[in-house]
């Protein structure tokens, strides 16, 4: 049980770290798909099947496709896919900040004796989730629908190319 969690964590964090260090954007995007799939595996491990499938559908399926499209739409030439190497000062500063944050968080987590109740995972079926959504949180559901609609329309408006006719307008 714990070994599976450690394996999932190593695969997820490792592929995320390699993805953000690579210079080829396509490889980065594909490795991040592996990382998101690792997060979905963690949700399955924790017993939240619905969230795991939502993660697979949204991240592994949809967000990775948008990222790949963005990578392919924003390259300058057909052959150029690698980036010029990042500035060393910024990389060192970012590593310093990240390392300090890792130290603080790990120290706090390990130093705090968090008791975990030994009980099994709370059993929540999809039926329970649907009932809760429609009876307890219908306002949140409507707001999320409105956010998604507005955000996707806004994305289309921002990214749409305007064709110039005759030079003016």
């Amino acid at each position: 049980m714990t070994a599976a969690l450690i394996l999932i964590a190593l695969v997820t964090v490792g592929s995320a770290g390699v993805a953000l260090a690579l210079r080829n954007l396509i490889h980065s995007a594909l490795l991040l798909v592996a990382s998101w799939a690792g997060v979905a595996a963690f949700y399955l491990w924790a017993g939240a099947e619905f969230v795991a499938f939502a993660q697979v559908l949204v991240y592994v399926g949809a967000v990775s496709m948008i990222v790949l499209f963005a990578v392919l739409l924003t390259r300058r030439s057909r052959t150029e896919l690698t980036l010029d190497s990042p500035s060393l000062v910024r990389a060192a500063a970012a590593l310093l900040i990240g390392g300090a944050l890792v130290g603080i968080l790990f120290g706090a987590i390990i130093g705090t004796g968090i008791e975990t109740p030994a009980g099994a995972a709370p059993h929540v079926t999809v039926r329970d989730l649907g009932t809760q959504l429609m009876t307890v949180h219908p306002a949140a559901l409507l707001i999320v629908g409105a956010i998604l609609t507005v955000a996707l329309l806004g994305a289309v408006v921002i990214a749409a190319t305007e064709r110039k006719e005759g030079g003016d307008s």
């Binding site: 995320a16 924790a46 619905f50 969230v51 924003t74 990042p86 956010i147």
Partner: protein
């Protein structure tokens, strides 16, 4: 003292958060910065599920619902962010953040 499973989950999510933070700070390509931010959001979702799994919940579906809503909002954020990156690319012909200083025009 062996670590409890909840502590392992929290260590996992904080490691993922820091990887995302380092990526977002160190890279100058806008797409990679956005992917770092997505990783940080994923780390926050991991915490929701970890505390739902090991917490004493009065509402047993609360953590799952929160994570689902968070994933939905993160998807909207990714779509808008990548659309902005494409808009920046159309103005500047590259997506380096040092040179991206205007969206207008």
């Amino acid at each position: 003292m062996p670590l409890s499973p909840l502590q392992l989950c929290l260590l996992f999510s904080s490691a993922l958060f820091c990887v995302g933070l380092v990526g977002a700070l160190a890279r100058s390509n806008a797409i990679l910065v956005l992917l770092g931010i997505e990783l940080m959001l994923n780390a926050a979702n991991l915490n929701f599920i970890a505390f739902w799994r090991y917490g004493s919940a009065s509402a047993p579906a609360g953590g799952v619902l929160f994570a689902v809503f968070s994933i939905a909002v993160a998807a909207a954020e990714a779509a808008v962010g990548l659309a902005l990156i494409i808009a920046i690319y159309r103005h500047q012909r590259n997506v380096r953040l040092e040179e991206a200083n205007r969206l207008k025009g």
